[in-house]
């Protein structure tokens, strides 16, 4: 695991009246414990990866409370686990990255929502939208609506988030429906504080077991029950939810002096909207706003009475709703029409339809709204001047800089074992021409960015090979698929490999076996070599492939670029008709270094002999073409000003970050690139023999260098 939360989990033990300080996602975990959950689970993915890490690091606390912790195989598995709450009064929570995780989970979610729940169920979704997101840009809102799952979108401060978790369980039980808690990226990572309560042991748990299985035909998702369930949803569960939300005031109303206008805002958007008002001189630092604000901590369902009461008597309201389609704005229109309230509704006409609502975006939209609505008692000219002044430095910077600064996209880490595979593919492409490569989800998706620009499609986690099934038969030459070991266990084994064998697919699959789901923070997977306790250790990709009937399997140590080139060409030209799998085998460098560094430090301290390997470039030999960088992209392989007074192009150089993975030398060799690279093996704590040999060599070479016969 990339990050240990061993210290942070201590704060999960806080009791009544103590102040919790920490990250949003840790606060959610604490709130789950305060709510008396019986079981938790999920699947890692930014921005909620930390929650899975915390759950695993907090096993001792979980065990004491009798809570079952499951590292689910996928989001579908996590959603299905919530089935425990259908028949039994067990509170359960799962987490995943959305919308992708919700997509994977949606089969189970639909069934869960139809059957209804006895125990409160909470799905904590990390809404991966906007800056920092790594997935397709969609809203989870649609899932809530289609399956009738209530959607909480709390104001992004820890007290509100914690309150929403606790009341979310109550809402779920009061309305027999699952509840989603939506947290945007920054809310997941927001660091703040709240007043803690004692943790609560659940009524039923691993400490206090169930005895009698419950049977209720009405809870089975099969006709005729499904018809009754749908009716139950709208006739019983929906009204119960509305009643609960209203009675417990989950949504908030902040009055203001300019009551002829108002802003309706998703809870998660409250702080950014308030900051915009503050910057325009219309609110103070404590949230006292001139403009009345109605905060939707529950964005689905809306409470029609609350909406129409807020809007009554107002000329214009602005709906601040991030993402599209603009479900809330449309719903507000419908509610007001039904209630015959004549307020004009603004939303996507003032704010952009798509994209993250950043500080700048919301400021611009709110400024536009204030100017158009001219709230009573507000000096709109002053607001306009304030806005113009705020935006001036950005315009000035653009003029002064002349052109946009280069982007800095994420990429493979220093010494990443996946990089050599794409170096090899580039070399193969040089010989045989461009190849179609179906990509998957994981760190290896970085291959689609410069300098590699390899990969034609990305269709979903573990779905690389499945997405290649109709491509391969359409090409005269075989095509390639890349899949990570994370994707392999998530979905790839069945949807991809079993399907390919079954349908006699003739393609080539490269499995990146680095031992972790590295992109999400190096969580372990079934085939990880190093497992935490409580996990099975004897699960191998090779055995799974063999069991499923893959006959052509070759394993290559990824740093051997030449061998990888040969194996790829072999797979491209082999007469074998059927799926060919190349296992690109080498441990994630992040984890490797994390393991090795303390070990080496200990050896060095103990005076043991340690050989450190580093690569370098002879700047007199390098001519500054940078082919090596185009074939590698390693962050530690960079450029520096040319020390040669005759040359102007910068030369390649290897910086101090080098971990000595050896790719530079391998690529220089395999690509017949240039002789600039050297490898240096530095013998630390040398033995007598090392010293003796070294001084002998230096003496002889020094003598030769001093002798005119050998220097010229």
């Amino acid at each position: 695991m990339e990050r240990s939360f061993a210290a942070e989990v201590e704060s999960l033990k806080l009791g009544d009246g103590q102040v919790f300080h920490g990250e949003g996602i840790l606060a959610v975990t604490k709130a789950l414990l305060q709510s008396g959950v019986s079981y938790v689970g999920g699947y890692q993915g930014a921005p909620v990866s930390h929650m899975m890490d915390v759950l695993n690091d907090a096993r001792e606390i979980m065990d004491r409370l009798g809570i079952h912790v499951e590292t689910n195989a996928s989001e579908a598995g996590a959603a299905a686990m919530l089935g425990a709450s259908i028949n039994y009064p067990l509170r359960g929570a799962v987490t995943w990255k959305s919308t992708v995780g919700t997509n994977v989970a949606s089969d189970a979610l639909s069934n869960l929502a139809s059957a209804g729940v006895k125990g409160g169920t909470l799905i904590v979704i990390g809404e991966d939208y906007g800056e920092g997101a790594s997935i397709i840009q969609e809203r989870s809102h649609a899932f809530a609506m289609k399956s009738q799952i209530w959607l909480l979108d709390p104001r992004p401060n820890l007290p509100t988030i914690v309150r929403m978790v606790e009341q979310g369980f109550e809402l779920s039980e009061a309305s027999q429906s699952p509840v989603m808690l939506e947290l945007r990226i920054r809310a997941c990572h927001v660091h703040g504080s709240f007043l803690a309560k004692d943790n609560r042991a659940a009524r039923f748990s691993r400490q206090n077991l169930l005895n009698d299985p419950d049977f209720d035909a009405g809870r089975i998702c099969l006709p005729p029950s499904t018809y009754a369930q749908e009716k139950h949803k709208v006739e019983v569960r929906w009204p119960a939810a509305i009643e609960f939300i209203r009675r417990n005031r989950l949504n908030e109303h902040f009055p203001g002096t300019s009551d002829d206008v108002g802003i309706i805002v998703q809870g998660g958007m409250y702080n950014v909207a308030l900051r915009a008002l503050q910057q325009l001189g219309l609110a103070d630092a404590f949230g006292q706003s001139v403009i009345p604000i109605y905060v939707l901590n529950v964005t689905y369902p809306l409470i029609p009475d609350e909406v129409s009461q807020f809007c009554a008597g107002k000329r214009r309201v602005l709906v601040v709703e991030e993402g599209q389609p603009n479900y809330i704005e449309e719903a507000v229109h419908a509610i007001l029409r039904r209630a015959d309230v004549q307020t004009r509704v603004h939303g996507k006409d003032m704010l952009p339809m798509a994209g993250e609502y950043t500080g700048e975006v919301v400021l611009t939209g709110v400024a536009k709204y204030i100017e158009a609505a001219a709230p009573k008692g507000v000096d709109t000219a002053a607001a306009h001047t304030a806005f113009e002044k705020l935006m001036t430095p950005k315009r000035r910077a653009a003029e002064l800089l002349g052109s946009p600064v280069p982007t800095r996209a994420p990429g493979f880490c220093i010494g990443c074992p996946e990089r050599p595979v794409f170096s090899a593919m580039k070399l193969v492409e040089r010989e045989v021409g461009r190849l179609h490569v179906s990509c998957d989800i994981g760190c290896h998706t970085f291959s689609t960015l410069p300098p590699f620009s390899i990969g034609n499609t990305v269709l979903g986690y573990g779905l690389g090979l499945a997405s290649n099934t109709a491509v391969n038969p359409m090409f005269g030459r075989r095509t390639l698929t890349v899949m990570g070991d994370g994707g392999f266990w998530h979905n790839g084994l069945t949807s991809g490999i079993a399907n390919a064998v079954f349908n006699r697919n003739d393609g080539i699959l490269v499995i990146m076996k680095n031992g972790y789901t590295s992109a999400t923070g190096t969580q372990t997977i079934p085939s990880s070599v190093h497992q935490s306790e409580g996990k099975s250790t004897d699960m191998s990709i090779e055995k799974a492939l063999s069991g499923i009937g893959v006959k052509w399997v070759k394993s290559v140590y990824t740093y051997r670029v030449g061998e990888m080139v040969r194996t790829l060409k072999d797979a491209l030209t082999s007469s074998y008709n059927g799926l060919k799998v190349i296992i690109a085998d080498a441990e994630c460098q992040l984890e490797r270094q994390r393991r090795l560094r303390p070990l080496i430090a200990k050896q060095l301290a103990a005076g043991e002999r340690v050989v450190r390997t580093r690569f370098g470039v002879d700047d007199e030999v390098c001519t500054g073409d940078h082919s090596c960088i185009r074939l590698s992209g390693c962050p530690s392989l960079t450029i520096k000003p040319n020390p040669d007074p005759l040359r102007t192009d910068p030369v390649a150089t290897v910086d101090q970050g080098c971990v000595g993975c050896g790719l530079c030398g391998e690529v220089a060799h395999a690509a017949v690139l240039c002789p600039s690279f050297y490898r240096a093996d530095i013998v630390q704590n040398p033995r007598i023999w090392d010293r003796w040999l070294d001084s002998l060599r230096r003496a002889v070479i020094g003598w030769l260098q001093g002798s005119p016969a050998w220097t010229r």
């Binding site: 930014a46 991966d128 790594s134 401060n157 300098p451 450029i639 530095i682 260098q705």
Partner: protein, 511 residues
């Protein structure tokens, strides 16, 4: 109103500050930006201030650019009663009090986003560069103009603290985040005391001592107490005054030409260096005739630069020589940070192929051998790992290095000299028409560099431009100069030659 006066006013007059202090941290994955944010939160909490931080780590942790955003309300909780400030999670343009960037281009990104404004922003940034992939992978020089970044920072920041924090971190044996923290506190833009900040580092445990050293260095630097001398540029000028250059060439050209003479004498012999000046003399007189003196003899200088490099083309003899020089071993030890007494074993990655072999053979042997290899349709090469730090490895390389005598008779020498002459004729001819045109032709020599495929591609591009735009001397000089400059840039735009093919009047190459 700036951050400090906000605090002062709050404490003296009893009125609460009207807004929080906003801090945006721009860093790259792995630089410890998250830990810096934690230190800031801890020190603010320690002083009882409401504080909030957010980040968007995600995949940006994998070497990408990322930011951490903090807001600190500079009045202690107990003064607020039941009220709590509403703190934003995203930065807004024109609304940042303290902008700190771990690297110069990231400071540029912040400027570009409007996060630095003259009325309130203290910009604290490291002046060192970590190049973005587009800058690194360019075929020539793709670096963003740092003078523009510095200038924009100077114009837009209310206060600018700019120095090489990476270097201070290295010297203190710590990570850059500690130096950044020290610089932030030293800039005086934070409401927290220095003690509270150092305490936050101490409490964070691991590596605290090193971090505190880095903090101290950053703090002193931001306070202006400790301004180290600028780092010396790595300049390898080896030239010495050359009488013939001094007497026959104008002073503006001396630096480059003397370097060229020294380079070629070192590469081959004195006669070869004299040939260099013989070749340049007519270029100089052509430039004189064309009035080049007024523009500082740029044509002679640039032709001299490229001619020296071209004449000292890199063959195996040259590479072996460069890799076995005494100063090279010292440089390697220094670069890999070997401590005194630690043996260093240096391994070279050489893959001489049939072309490299033929390059040092006479044309009569090289031509048939190359033709044979071409018929076989494949290239032959031997991958070698030569350890130049061992006696046998050193001797092997030295043997190669001593073959300079063979060079003058070799096929590569023959070919290069012919192409050089062709290029020089074109430069001289153009100079009679227009110095600018001649300069563009001279500049085309920069396309020819590197080894193996790189060298082959460069030469092909050079010839394609030559055949299409330089040989056929039609049209006005200004138009031709512009077309040549465009084609040269296109040749350096992508290794596949797509841009060049579009830039030339007819398809490049004849496959």
């Amino acid at each position: 109103m700036d951050a400090l006066t906000a605090v002062d006013r709050a404490s003296s007059a009893g009125a609460l500050p009207t807004r929080p202090i906003t801090i945006l941290v721009a860093a790259l994955g792995g630089e410890g930006g998250g830990v810096l944010a934690e230190w800031l939160v801890a020190s603010a909490t320690d002083q009882g201030f409401p504080v909030q931080s957010t980040s968007i780590p995600g995949v940006a942790q994998r070497t990408g650019a990322t930011t951490y955003y903090l807001e600190i309300y500079p009045a202690a909780w107990e003064r607020l009663g039941q009220r709590a400030p509403v703190l934003a999670l995203t930065p807004s343009p024109g609304n940042i009090d303290v902008m700190i960037a771990s690297e110069l281009l990231e400071a540029g990104r912040a400027l570009q986003s409007g996060y630095v404004s003259p009325d309130r922003t203290t910009l604290v940034a490291s002046s060192h560069r970590i190049y973005a992939i587009a800058e690194k992978s360019a075929m020539s020089d793709g670096r963003f103009d740092t003078s523009k970044l510095m200038e924009t920072a100077r114009v837009l920041a209310r206060r600018l603290v700019l120095f090489d924090m990476a270097r201070l971190a290295r010297e203190a044996g710590t990570v850059i985040n500690a130096v950044m923290f020290g610089a932030l506190v030293g800039s005086g833009a934070l409401p927290m005391s220095r003690q509270a900040c150092e305490e936050a580092i101490r409490r964070s445990g691991k590596g605290a001592e090193a971090s505190l050293r880095g903090f101290e260095a950053g703090y002193r630097h931001a306070q202006g107490d400790d301004v180290p001398a600028p780092q010396q540029a790595d300049d390898r000028t080896r030239s010495r005054p050359v009488d013939r250059v001094r007497s026959q060439f104008p002073s503006e050209t001396h630096k480059i030409l003397e370097e060229g003479v020294a380079r070629l004498a070192d590469y081959q012999d004195e006669a070869y260096a004299q040939l260099y000046l013989d070749r340049l003399a007519p270029v100089l007189s052509a430039e004189r005739d064309g009035g080049g003196g007024a523009t500082g003899y740029r044509l002679t200088t640039e032709t001299g630069r490229h001619l020296a490099l071209w004449m000292s083309y890199e063959d195996v003899i040259r590479v072996a020589d460069l890799k076995t020089r005494p100063e090279r071993f010292a440089r390697v030890r220094n670069e890999v940070r070997a401590r005194p007494g630690e043996p260093v074993i240096v391994t070279e990655f050489l893959k001489p192929g049939i072309e490299e072999l033929c390059a040092i053979l006479p044309p009569s042997l090289a031509r048939p051998l190359l033709a044979w290899a071409a018929r076989r349709g494949r290239s032959y090469s031997i991958g070698m790992h030569v350890r130049t730090s061992t006696v046998t490895g050193y001797l092997l390389m030295r043997l190669l290095a001593r073959m300079t005598g063979l060079r003058r008779k070799s096929s590569r020498f023959h070919d290069e000299q012919a192409l050089i002459e062709r290029w020089l004729v074109a430069v001289k001819a153009a100079a009679a028409e227009s110095i600018d045109l001649a300069l563009e032709i001279a500049e085309c020599a920069r396309l020819i560099k590197g080894y193996g495929d790189t060298h082959r591609r460069g030469t092909t591009n050079f010839l394609n431009i030559f055949d299409a735009l330089i040989g056929p001397a039609a049209g006005r000089p200004a138009g031709r100069a512009a077309a040549i400059a465009r084609a040269r840039q296109a040749a350096l735009a992508d290794p596949e030659g797509k841009s060049l093919a579009e830039a030339l009047p007819r398809p490049a190459g004849s496959a």
